[in-house]
Structures are given as structure tokens and as C-alpha cells.
Symmetry: none
Subunit: 216 residues, 4 copies
């Protein structure tokens, strides 16, 4: 721990700039949020990818979205085995404590995690198949769905189809959580599956009647 | 899955606004990011809390930060047991695939997860002690540190001290990952511990020589 | 060449200070930039003037901006006559090789080059009118625009108006380069005209609808 | 010109942050610099490359360096042919108007312009050999020196040797300008050749007695 270096100067400067402008202009609201607690309307589960800024896309300011970000926006199935389940903990907190009204899963194009899963399922990524590969074991959540896209020959089409399946797999797993299923059933919570084509700026949503993703 | 409702209209409208403005003005850069891939300089591990927008604080635009968000910005210890470790997977991807240069853990004031951990450790939160409480079992990562702040009588001071300990605990666990330790040792990766007082807009960083958090 | 003197000691000392601090703290990122190559999002054309630091104004760190600086931030018209055109070469490299998304021309107040051009156009600077005056011949790029500000009687107002015209003249000349025009047309490149009032710290941008410079 | 887009929002925000902090803290000095004019001690000729920040390396603040940046930090020979010579104009202004005391040429490793020149000289870059290639014609300034490094077989060593030659070529051309030669002769101006190994953070200077670059 003695090797810690200072925060890069450009980040320090930008922080001071934020403090003197954005913070100064909104301090009253930030103080209320701190004093009265957050009351987000929605939880968003999206990817860690640096190119996906859900707050930007939806013009969301401080206090609006409770956001969990992990590799490939995956939700594991309900497993109350007393392990350290970070994603499940975030969902539990959002749904049972914060009582959010919407739960949005946001997938995206060119997802490195999903591509890795494809490579792994094809046998082209021995590193990801190792027991001690965290990325590989995390993508095991999605891997069982691979047969559904295996026949797609075009690599880009296959990747997009699998990215969309990652959203649907997460939504399926979400309803295995009793506290999610119960609130969806009672109408207190709605689930939404989205997929963003980053380069084109196109957002699509999963339409259950059509059983496909359609432009928002 | 037949219960899915459409995306709320206000979010649809904001998306279309983003598409016509922010996207349109930056489409060239977003297309390049999609085509050439991301190359973020830093990974940030922060809380899901809706009041913490790290990209805003640091004026970071698309492509700059790889961001993992979970309850209380916790990093579990290195456990290559083939389980679905979302946080470990995100760290592995950022460090070994993206080769980020900085790894920043950002804690914050009024953290609900940390407060829950305090309540649990004091025996005041039986729900969190249940085997099937995902939040409780996630906060088990931090719970062993509670004795270090147990004697602080003022609740606010105790919470802030424990929030800062959550940052330090994560940093300690980070170096138990061989690929993190190796790159820190070789100088290819630097670790940074930050804590944000949300209401006051004050950012503090952990200073190893002083062994305390100090204003940036 | 035998008259070369050592680098002044104060610069040597500052370099060693930078090496031990800024470099040491960011060595991993600098090594990656060296190994993987630059990928700047924008090119900036600004003046050589020692008072204009575009990286400071925009909190830009190593790797963000490709920067060409010349007297009065001028862009000559497209002239593929096989001469040594330094500005045209910089633009060609930024646009066709680096494929930057934004091209920013940054003018500023109290510009000595622009003032010289005014004096020259008024017949008050015989030195600048000489065939062998490099500054004079360089300012010939802007001189044809002088009639547009000739009637302004207040010298400061005239200078500011001409400084802003230098930005617009450069932008007009930029689109005479086929590779610029093509990428602007296709939406891959956007042009931005800025003018900085250095003393007041006020930044203005050219608004085409209003056809004037307005505060950012 | 009707296609102009607004300045990206992240740059607008960072500017406002700069205005409220760096500018606010230094407004008195910036106002003096605006009112009394600049008085830089040195001129620096460096590359446009986004990875080379000479102000950072030398801790230089507003007002210290008059900076010209072009592809590969080249100075063409003295050619008073009434053409638009941007580099020559910048040098003339710095030396005869601002009367700088030092003229520093700063080369660097991994220079794309120098590498392009190598490829062109080897016949591997037909695009750069075209009459209408601005980069190619600009690199013609350096090309005649290629035979001096042609025999170096290791590509990295060859590139570094040529990058250093680009600095020396510029210095040789500098003294072909009568106003430079005269002031160097009289001791009013000193020339300095530097080369930066960006990844390693190592700065070297040209030592005439040793006729080689040595660590600063």
C-alpha cells in the first residue's frame, strides 16, 4: 500500500473546476439529496464499458438512476447461498429498500465481454475456459444461450444477436428473484430490456409481443 | 416476460433529444470509439448510489473511464473458485485486457450499504444477518473491519470513518489479485482511494504517508 | 553550431522535477501512449502566443489534442503546389491519418500578428510590406479581409473584430481542402471557431445561425 | 459553413471549470499579460503530436514560452520568396519582435512524421511521394538527411536516429536566417536541440562537443 501515487493532476484540476461550477450551481439540491436520502425512480444495469454513459443518453442528473455496472450487463440467477453476490445485492437494495419503479437492463454493441463469450463457446479462447478466469466464469451466466446464435455465420450479426440475448438472459434471471417477481406481479415494478448501437446512436427496446428488439 | 411495459415516455423523449443533439454533435467520435475499440485510461469502482456521478466530477466523456459500480464500492478478496464473481471479472478485464493505468476506488458519504453494515454489526439489522440477504452477505466483505470504528460514538463520524475504511478495504483486497499486484509492483498500474462528501462537494484522497484522507 | 549553450539550469531543474513527479505518476499511461500510438479526439489550431494555453483551458491531458500553433492561428487556402506548407501538412495528417473528429480554430485577444496585419493594411508598417518579411507575407492570408473591419474607428474594437475574422478566414480556407470538405460533408468531422478574451478569461464561439461570436 | 456544430458539451463544461478556478486564481496575472503584452523568455518549436506537452515538461505557465508546433518540429531553410511561410514567420516574430533569449527545438520518439519520411525515402509510401501530399512535401525538408541513417538496420534505432537528425536539421536551417545567425553571433540568442523519449520520460540534449544527444 506504500506504493500509492497521487491522483493525476489533470483529474485534480477538473475536480476543482466541477466544484466551482456544477457543484456550486447545484449545491442546494446535492445537500438535500445528502440529507434526505436518494429516491431514484429507476435502477439501470449496464456494462462497465467506457463508451456507454446511460446518464448522458437519458439526460439523467444526480438522484435519478441507481446504477449497477458489470461486464456485459449480466444478472446471475437467484442463488441465496450466502456467497458475496454483488449484482444480486445491488438488485435487492434497489427493489426492496429503494423501491424503484423501473428496472432497466442496457446492453450495447461491440461488447468485449459478449465477444469473449462467443470465442469461449467456440473453443477459441482457452484462457477464458480456465477455472481461475474471472471473466470466463462470469460469462458462464450467458454461455448456455450460445446454441441459440451458433448458426449465425456473419460475425457482426452473431455478436449483436448474442448481445441482445445477454439482455434477455438477465431479464429472465431477474424474475427468478422472488422480491422482483412479486413486485412485477403486483405492478409496482416494470422491467425493460434495451440495446444500444453505440456507433449509430440507435437505441432499441425488447418488445414482448413482437419478441424482438425494435427502435425506441 | 409478458408483463413488460414500454419504456416510460419521458425516457423515450430524452433519448430522442440526446440522439438529435449530443449524439449528432459527437457522432464521429462515437463511431470511432465503436470501430476502433475503447482505450480508457482509468478504471473507477464506485457505488451504485444515484447521487454519485464520477464522470461529472472529473469532466470525463465517453471513452475515458471503465466504470464498475456496486453496493458500497467493495472489492472482494481474490477467490478463484470458479464462482460468478462480477467485481473480480470487471477488475480482471480492466487490468489484463484494457491495461488501464489507474484504478480508482471512490467511496462517498451517506452510503446506505455502509450504514446497513454498521447496523448489522451492532446487531440492529436482523434482516441483513439472514443467510439469504444478498446485501448482508455482500457487506460481509467489509464487516470484519467494524471493530476499527466501533468505539466512535457519534453516528455520523462513525459512518464516515467506515465509508473511508470501505475504500481502504477494497484497496487491500485489490492487491490480493496477482495481476493487480504484479502491475502495481512494475509501475504499470497505480491505485487511488477517494471519498466524496456528496452534500459538501468535497473530495478527499487517501494519503499513505499521513495514513488518512485529505482534501484533494 | 559550435556556439550552442547548455539548456538553462532552471529548465533542467524543472524537467527533473517533472520526471520525478508528473512523469513518475503517469508513466504507465505515457508508456501506453508511446507503444499504442496517439488517438486524439480533436485538432486545435491556435496562436504561438505564450499567453494561450489551450490544454489548460480545456483540462486536456497528454493524448487528447493534436495541436498546431502558428502566428494568428491562420490556415492558408488549399495550394497543392509542392511547396513546404507546414499548416496544410498538419491538417492533412490530423484529418486523413489520425481521423480527428473535431477541428477547432482558437483565436485570441491582443494578437500581435493580427495587429501587425492591421498596421500593414493601413500603410503604417513598411517593414511588414517588404517582400522578405515572413510575418508580413504570412499575414497576407488575412489581409484581404481588412476592408470588412476598416470602418471600425475604435482600435480595440477593430482589433477584436479582425481577430475574429482571422478565425472565420481560417475556417473558410479549411473547407477548400478536399479531404476536410469531404469529411465535414459526411459528418465525420466538425469545425469549431473560438475566440478567447485572454485578460477576461472569456471564451466565445462562432454561431452560424446568429453569424456572430457568442459566450460559451 | 452552415454545417458547424456546437462545441462538445464536455469541453464547454471543462472551460467553465477552468474559468471558475485557474482563471479566477490568476486573473490579475492574465490581465497584466493582456495589458502589458507577452514577454516570453524562450521560443519552442515542437511537434503537433498530442503526446508532447512542452509546458508540462518544463512547468511553464502562461507567458513563458512562445510555441510553434508543426509536423516533426521542422524548420525550413531561409527562403524569402514572398510565399506564406508559417514556420519562418513564427521564428521571425519571436526573434525580431519578442527578442526571445532561447530557441529550443524539441523532437520526440515515435514521431509519425519522421516515420513517414523514412517510409517515403525507402520507396514504401507512394502516397507521400505525390506532388499534392502536404505531409510528403513538408517532410522533403528532412528527406535529404536520410542517407545518414539509411544503413541502420534496426527500425527503432533508425527512427530514433532520424528523429534526432530532424532536430539537428532544424537547427542548421535556423542559422540560415540572417536575424537568427546575427543574434546567435552576438550572444543575444542561444539555440538548443532536445529529444524526448516519451514512453520513458527521458529528455536528451544535443551536445556539440560530443556531437551526440546526451541525457539532460
Amino acid at each position: 500500500m506504500h506504493r500509492l501515487k497521487p491522483l493525476p493532476a489533470y483529474l485534480q484540476q477538473r475536480y476543482h473546476g466541477w466544484k466551482a461550477t456544477t457543484y456550486a450551481e447545484n449545491s442546494s439540491w446535492y445537500e438535500r439529496l445528502a440529507t434526505e436520502g436518494q429516491r431514484p425512480r429507476a435502477m439501470v444495469i449496464s456494462c462497465c464499458d467506457s463508451r456507454v454513459h446511460v446518464t448522458s443518453i437519458f439526460g439523467a442528473d444526480q438522484g435519478e438512476f441507481f446504477i449497477h455496472r458489470n461486464i456485459a450487463n449480466l444478472v446471475p440467477p437467484f442463488e441465496p447461498d450466502s456467497g458475496n453476490h454483488g449484482t444480486s445485492a445491488a438488485i435487492e437494495y434497489a427493489v426492496t429498500v429503494l423501491k424503484v419503479s423501473h428496472l432497466i437492463v442496457l446492453g450495447h454493441s461491440k461488447c468485449g465481454g459478449v465477444q469473449g463469450c462467443i470465442d469461449m463457446c467456440k473453443g477459441d479462447a482457452p484462457d477464458l475456459q480456465r477455472k481461475d478466469s474471472f471473466v470466463g466464469r462470469w460469462m458462464d451466466i450467458l454461455a448456455p444461450k450460445f446454441p441459440e446464435v451458433e448458426a449465425i455465420s456473419d460475425p457482426d450479426e452473431q455478436a449483436q444477436a448474442f448481445e441482445k440475448l445477454s439482455v434477455l438472459a438477465s431479464m429472465e434471471n431477474l424474475v427468478t428473484f422472488p422480491f422482483v417477481a412479486e413486485r412485477v406481479e403486483s405492478g409496482q415494478l416494470s422491467l425493460h430490456g434495451l440495446w444500444l448501437n453505440m456507433g449509430a446512436g440507435e437505441l432499441e427496446f425488447y418488445s414482448p409481443p413482437a419478441d424482438e428488439f425494435q427502435p425506441v
